[in-house]
């Protein structure tokens, strides 16, 4: 089970990274979104897998009486999902505004902060 998910996770990572290596900002964004899922899945898998037993304590008991899924990675992933969504939403709007202002969705054309062919800094004192 973990092995199968480890394989799926590596495909998620590979696809996300391949998309992020592109020069098109929209592809990079798709990559970021998938990357978040890849990370979440690997945290989840690293905490070991357990089928169909959610970490909930029965009404009558103080502690669960049978084996349950590991709650800790679930709590971590829950936080991570929300954060990665915020990041994705922010990047999406940023990309859109950058496209509006700069007229391109190619990262090679987005050179406002690091312009191409910058002259030598002054050689005086």
């Amino acid at each position: 089970m973990e092995a199968a998910l480890a394989f799926v996770v590596s495909v998620f990572f590979a696809v996300a990274i391949y998309l992020m290596l592109s020069k098109h900002i929209i592809r990079i964004l798709l990559g970021v979104s998938i990357f978040g899922n890849a990370v979440n899945l690997s945290i989840f898998t690293a905490g070991r897998l357990m089928r169909e037993v959610p970490p909930i304590i029965p009404e009558a008991l103080q502690t669960p009486d049978s084996a349950i899924a590991n709650p800790l990675p679930q709590a971590l992933v829950l936080t991570a999902i929300v954060i990665s969504f915020s990041l994705f939403a922010f990047l999406l709007v940023l990309a859109f505004r950058a496209y509006q202002e700069l007229g391109t969705d190619d990262t090679d054309g987005m050179r406002v902060a690091e312009p191409e062919g910058e002259p030598l800094p002054p050689l005086g004192y």
């Binding site: 290596l21 098109h24 899922n37 899945l41 009404e59 103080q62 999406l92």
Partner: protein
């Protein structure tokens, strides 16, 4: 030493810094008269150190200090013997006169308070340098003098020449400081001691150590840069960009002698070897000749003096290197004499400049009636510099010739070098002291008249001192020259030379020197033209070399920056992921931590189906050629992840994931209606192959790491804690929720803050519109 004395010395070391702190406010209140108040600080220090002259001349040494970093056995400590007390007296005594002089020189300058502050800070640093005992104290104060010198040279920071000179001095002396630090550490490791007093007690341990050569060369790197020895001499004349009080104080009387001080201090443990007796006279002698010859070329009073300072430092290094008793005594006498006459002459040059508006010697003349006091001071100082009998400089020169002599070819050569250097310095000294004052009156930019007392007090006192100290040579030798010489030699000696001339070889050489000096003085015009011709013919010097090095550095760092930070996002991403893959794979390979080959997992068919759907969604994202396909396939992989969570006992995750993926798809759809997805991937095939390789390797690396992680025993301590106490302590049955809102409640608060900040940032991005497009060449989007 008594506890009171300890305290007072510590206070004396702190006093300049305290005075520096109040100087700006005081100057705002009292204007240039603040100098009278501020000069009390160095005067008190001078008085304090005169108290040590008695014990030190009896051969005592005094140490004191405090543990600084005891765990590293680093102390803040001082060490007083004849050498350091003499230096401390020179620094505080001349410092008093310089503070007064600066009061007159920069009268009305808007930053006079800042200037006082800098020069007092320098004084404190220099004082700390010469009394420092532990190596680290010495190094810290050594670097502080470089930094305060930088501030003072660049005082007039609105001129490029000042900035260049300041930076040049800092780079050269700062590099030397690093060399010194390395040298001191080598000495520490070779001898096991880290203070001067302990090092001097080890006698010849260092000389016999295998690291002797390394220690010597590194120490010389520090001393030669600080004391402007050829080929590092170029920064000193450039430092004349500083206001004249700085030139008089730092760049003739005190700071540039720090290197000589260091050599004298270490002479008993580093000296008396073939290397020492070859390297030092070689560099010192070269510096002496180069300095005097370059001085002949100059017409600016300050530059003439600056090059003779370079020459004098060379002479001092040469004499220290010869190392015989007479030579060291000569170095000591010359050092004291030089501090007095050169300080005075610089102040005279500044005074002439201040009153007449120029310091070009060819545009000055006949000032003797307008400035009689200045003229007197100038003549007194030049007489000492030229070594005229009855002056302190004469004693030094007699001793130089007595110390070198004609015993063999090597000393004969050094004697001839000293003879030439002294003759030229005689000529330059009198050129500075006489040319502006004698002859016909020349019209100057300002109408010249005598300066105020603040300005002439310093040169007069120092000039007169050159005469008085020689007339009472018995007293000055007993109090200053003999203790200092003893400290440098490491054994008790008595200096006996007096102003009464003895018929003999030194006197004959003195006569030759004066004759040579007079000859050069008369021929100075022709000499200057000849030197100018030679220098033009050479056309390159270390000063130009410095510019070339600095430009080269800028160019190299520019191209390195361009290479590493070229502004291409895909380049950065590729580098990042290659690094990630390497960071994961290399340790796994090195430590043999590859995962075991897993057996075929046994899962129900619906789980396989969900995983397969996720993979199909991923493939579809890559191959999507239009926006609808891209959005839908992104949704497919997202919802598959939600299903995986659902199947594996994480319903909370599943619901959140469904919600978030839905929102992502909606927002993406909104944006995508404006932003086209390029139908084709523009990457050329080669780049695609490269990207696939990087992405594949990185993905495989992370997958393998995950597989390996799942194959080690699981530590469930934390999970068990939450499971055990979720209901008992926090009264919640849903353990995941309890962790989020109770056990890790502040983390969740942080998460909420992140979401809020992202929301605000998005709002700002949507609302704020620039009036003009940022990149006008790309037009409106």
């Amino acid at each position: 030493m008594t506890a009171d004395g300890q305290w007072l010395t510590f206070l004396a070391l702190l006093l300049p810094f305290a005075a520096a702190a109040i100087a700006p406010a005081l100057t705002r209140a009292l204007h240039h008269n603040a100098a009278w108040v501020l000069a009390i600080a160095p005067a008190l220090i001078f008085l304090h150190f005169t108290g040590f002259v008695g014990p030190v001349s009896d051969g005592e040494t005094l140490t004191g200090g405090y543990a600084w970093i005891p765990s590293l056995s680093v102390d803040f400590s001082w060490f007083l013997d004849g050498l350091s007390v003499t230096f401390a007296l020179l620094i505080s005594g001349i410092g008093t006169l310089i503070v007064l002089y600066a009061g007159g020189y920069l009268k009305g300058h808007e930053h006079q308070g800042r200037f006082f502050s800098f020069i007092l800070m320098f004084m404190g640093s220099m004082l700390g340098l010469v009394v420092a005992d532990s190596f680290l104290t010495l190094f810290v104060f050594w670097e502080l003098t470089s930094i305060t010198s930088f501030l003072l040279i660049g005082f007039d920071h609105s001129r490029e020449a000042s900035r260049r000179a300041a930076l040049q001095a800092l780079v050269v002396t700062g590099l030397g400081g690093l060399s010194l630090l390395a040298g001191l550490l080598v000495i520490w490791s070779a001898t096991g001691v880290n203070s001067m007093s302990a090092l001097l007690a080890t006698e010849s341990v260092l000389r016999d150590a295998p690291l002797y050569m390394a220690a010597l060369l590194l120490i010389l790197g520090g001393a030669f840069t600080k004391s402007a020895q050829f080929p590092f001499h170029f920064w000193l004349p450039n430092a004349m960009e500083a206001p004249t009080p700085v030139s008089a104080y730092l760049h003739s009387a005190t700071m540039v002698k720090a290197g000589v001080y260091l050599l004298m201090r270490l002479n008993p443990v580093l000296g008396d070897t073939a290397a020492w007796e070859t390297i030092l006279p070689l560099f010192g002698g070269t510096t002496l000749l180069v300095g005097t010859l370059l001085a002949v070329r100059q017409t600016d009073l300050k530059l003439m003096l600056a090059y003779t300072t370079v020459a004098s430092l060379g002479l001092l290094v040469m004499l220290t290197g010869v190392g015989s008793e007479k030579a060291v005594e000569a170095a000591v006498l010359y050092l004291v004499a030089h501090s007095m006459f050169k300080g005075a002459l610089f102040m005279v040059a500044g005074l002439v400049d201040h009153e007449s508006g120029t310091r070009d010697v060819t545009k000055l003349g006949g000032l003797r009636t307008a400035m009689p006091i200045t003229f007197t001071a100038a003549v007194l100082a030049a007489a000492s510099m030229g070594g005229v009998p009855l002056f302190f400089g004469f004693l030094a020169k007699e001793e130089i010739y007595a110390g070198l002599g004609f015993a063999n070819g090597w000393t004969t050569m050094l004697t001839l070098v000293a003879l030439a250097g002294n003759g030229l310095m005689f000529a330059i000294g009198f050129a500075v002291a006489l040319k502006p004052f004698l002859g016909a009156k020349v019209e100057t930019p300002k109408h010249a008249h005598e300066g105020p007392i603040l300005l002439w007090l310093g040169p007069v006192v120092l000039g007169a001192l050159g005469l008085v100290s020689a007339l009472f040579s018995g007293v000055s030798h007993e109090l200053v020259s003999s203790p200092m010489s003893s400290a440098v030699l490491g054994e008790a000696v008595t200096v006996t030379i007096s102003t009464i001339p003895h018929i003999g070889m030194p006197l004959a050489l003195s006569v030759v020197t004066v004759a040579l000096g007079v000859l050069v003085f008369v021929m100075l015009g022709q000499g200057r033209a000849a030197m100018a011709g030679i220098l033009n013919a050479i056309g390159w010097g270390p000063d130009k070399g410095f510019d070339q090095v600095m430009r080269g550095l800028t160019r190299v760092s520019f191209s390195v920056t361009n290479l590493i930070q070229n502004g291409r996002l895909d380049y950065y991403m590729t580098a990042t992921f290659i690094a990630v893959a390497a960071a994961v794979l290399i340790p796994m390979g090195l430590y043999g931590e590859w995962p075991a080959v897993p057996s075929m997992p046994r899962m129900p068919f619906y789980e396989w189906t969900v995983l397969l759907i996720a993979l199909i969604g991923l493939g579809a994202v890559i191959y999507a050629r239009d926006r609808l396909t891209a959005i839908v396939s992104l949704g497919i992989q997202g919802f598959s992840v939600a299903l995986i969570f659902m199947l594996l006992g994480a319903p909370d995750l599943s619901f959140t994931q469904f919600m978030v993926e839905t929102l992502s798809v909606v927002i993406l759809a909104l944006v995508m209606t404006r932003l086209r997805l390029s139908p084709t991937d523009h990457r050329p095939t080669g780049e695609k192959v490269m990207d696939v390789a990087v992405a594949g390797t990185c993905g495989a690396a992370l997958g393998l790491m995950l597989l390996r992680v799942t194959q080690v025993p699981f530590n469930s301590e934390l999970s068990d804690f939450f499971t055990q106490y979720s209901r008992v302590l926090a009264h919640g049955r849903n353990i995941v929720n309890v962790i989020l809102v109770d056990f890790r409640g502040t983390d969740t608060l942080g998460e909420i803050a992140v979401v809020m900040i992202a929301g605000l940032a998005i709002l700002a991005l949507v609302r704020v519109r620039s009036v003009k497009p940022i990149a006008s060449k790309n037009g409106e989007g």
